[in-house]
């Protein structure tokens, strides 16, 4: 059992970055995730593991630093919040196209525009449907606790390198700013150059040796036949993710007649709403997607044969609800309930919405 501490989500993330054997963190300050870089700066990662910590001149630069470092087979990560993530979209698209394994953390705040510094889940579309230009997907993990802010860092790198694809940890201001108990994992040593050569030497730009062809990292191909082939290759990766990487958690679904679908911070609120509703005799459960892409379509489709209706609870005007609807294929009513602009729905409100939108519709 590892050390147990009381930490903010952002701090647990930062500590996990050092422990995960990351080679470089590149970022730019933005509320509500500035604690990440502040924690890292105070923790002296250069001394602990040799990890590079660099405050970039912009999010544009930061994401491109990830491009450069990730393309050498090193573990590179950045964290930001919504407006900063928007700035990074160019780089993320290039990274997805060039198949570079990196991890991007979005501690979401309300938008659009400068919006608010308070929590929101209004970047779901951006995270799961692409975000930048071109046909691509990130693999998106949605932590709902401080513990998962820590645990998902090594998981994200495993997945990023398994698929040579950018992975996003989609958190929000609530998970980032709250403190909970966290059990830290044992530090994972940074990869040696030999390890990188052995495992990633067939693609990473680590210096061409005479025994192999040169490695090129690029998203460009001006020959349509080849570019189409590349796109189809990316599609195969996404299909493999859909087969192998769907993760979700179910709470009290065994006897459920109704279902909340909620991820991240709103799943926590839904958990409380279940307690309140069940105290009134309403049999409601929760499906919490842990991977937002790939989305747990199959399980939701199965649950559509069991429950009478689903309520997608989100800190947005209704984004994930579209994926829930696509999953259940109009078999049962699916509705959305959410608060936005930094407002957080109370568990009581969620129960009320279940009654008015689903049970008594």
């Amino acid at each position: 059992m590892g050390e147990i501490l009381l930490m903010k989500g952002n701090e647990a993330l930062a500590e996990a970055i050092i422990r995960a054997g990351v080679d470089g963190y590149f970022g730019y300050p933005i509320t509500p995730q500035s604690e990440v870089m502040e924690y890292l700066a105070a923790a002296k990662p250069e001394e602990r593991t040799g990890m590079v910590l660099l405050q970039a001149e912009s999010e544009l630069a930061a994401i491109n630093m990830l491009y450069g470092a990730g393309a050498t087979g090193k573990k590179a990560i950045t964290s930001s919040s919504s407006p900063g993530i928007s700035l990074m979209q160019e780089g993320i698209s290039y990274i997805a196209g060039a198949e570079i394994p990196v991890v991007v953390v979005n501690v979401v705040r309300g938008g659009p525009g400068l919006g608010t510094i308070q929590p929101a889940q209004s970047d779901y579309f951006q995270a799961t449907k692409g975000g930048g230009h071109g046909d691509y997907h990130l693999l998106v993990l949605a932590p709902n606790s401080v513990q998962e802010m820590s645990d998902f860092v090594p998981l994200a790198f495993d997945l990023a390198f398994k698929y040579r694809n950018p992975v996003m940890i989609l958190s929000d201001g609530l998970i980032g700013q709250m403190m909970e108990k966290v059990e830290l994992f044992e530090p994972i040593p940074r990869w040696t150059d030999e390890y990188i050569r052995e495992h990633h030497g067939n693609w990473a730009t680590i210096g061409k040796t005479p025994d192999r062809e040169r490695n090129i990292i690029t998203s460009l191909d001006l020959v349509p036949e080849r570019m189409e082939k590349h796109n189809m290759h990316l599609k195969e990766k996404y299909e493999q993710m859909e087969r192998e990487e769907v993760r979700f958690e179910e709470i009290q679904t065994e006897d459920a007649e109704y279902l909340f679908v909620a991820y991240g911070s709103s799943s926590r609120i839904a958990m409380k709403a279940i307690k309140l509703a069940r105290a009134e005799g309403i049999k409601v459960g929760l499906l919490r997607p842990i991977t937002l892409y790939p989305f747990p379509k199959k399980r939701l489709r199965e649950l559509a044969d069991q429950v009478k209706g689903m309520l997608s609870v989100e800190l947005s005007l209704g984004q994930m609800v579209e994926d829930v609807k696509l999953s259940v294929e109009c078999r049962i009513p699916v509705e959305h309930y959410g608060r936005v602009g930094g407002m957080i729905p109370t568990p009581e409100e969620v129960v009320e919405a279940l009654k008015t939108k689903i049970i008594n519709r």
């Binding site: 501490l5 700013q177 709250m178 909970e180 958990m271 409380k272």
Partner: protein, 189 residues
């Protein structure tokens, strides 16, 4: 055991650190804990509040609408959170600067003159610990030895020499807490 607490006051009154010490004490007691602050510009001189939950079970929502206990240090917070205490719940407040006192009849209301007692101890900074003592006297959900461990964990080492003063403040709070009103119509729960 599931105790849902809101702590609120001005920034600088040690609201967030009171919550943190309570949460850390909970960890030492082997409880599940959560701590969620108001954050942003309002931290800088305005009102601050933090929701702290201690529980035997996995904690669901870290953000709540109603609370078992409210610990408040200023008028704004009293006005905001008095209506949010569950019937039969506890409202503990510092009368310093309060002009409109709590009026509810269905909750327990206690006063602790934390600002004054803190000053008497030589540091207004420990007013939050005076309030913690008062709270623990009324709801001894964590043992004092675990509060000590919580202080050790949550205070940076350079402040460890202040622990005896903090513990003294807790003692004062336990001693000086004053009943204002005992709840009528408490639900048998």
């Amino acid at each position: 055991m599931n105790e849902e607490i809101i702590i609120a006051g001005f920034g600088g009154q040690g609201v967030l650190s009171l919550g943190k010490i309570l949460a850390y004490s909970g960890i030492m007691e082997d409880l599940e804990v959560s701590w969620f602050p108001s954050y942003g510009p309002e931290m800088r001189g305005g009102t601050a509040n933090v929701t702290v939950i201690l529980s035997n079970e996995r904690i669901s929502s870290p953000v709540l609408n109603v609370y078992d206990t409210a610990i408040v240090f200023n008028q704004q917070s009293l006005d905001k959170f008095e209506p949010k205490v569950k019937p039969g719940g506890l409202l503990l407040y510092d009368p310093n600067g309060i002009t409109r006192h709590p009026e509810r009849k269905d909750i327990d209301i206690y006063q602790i003159d934390a600002t004054k007692e803190g000053a008497a101890l030589g540091s207004t900074k420990v007013l939050n610990m005076v309030a913690l003592g008062a709270y623990l006297k009324l709801k001894p959900i964590v043992k004092l030895e675990n509060v000590h461990k919580g202080l050790l964990k949550s205070l940076p080492e350079r402040h460890h020499h202040l622990i005896p003063l903090n513990e003294k403040a807790i003692g004062v709070g336990m001693e000086k807490v004053k009943l204002i009103h005992k709840a009528e119509h408490v639900n048998a729960k």
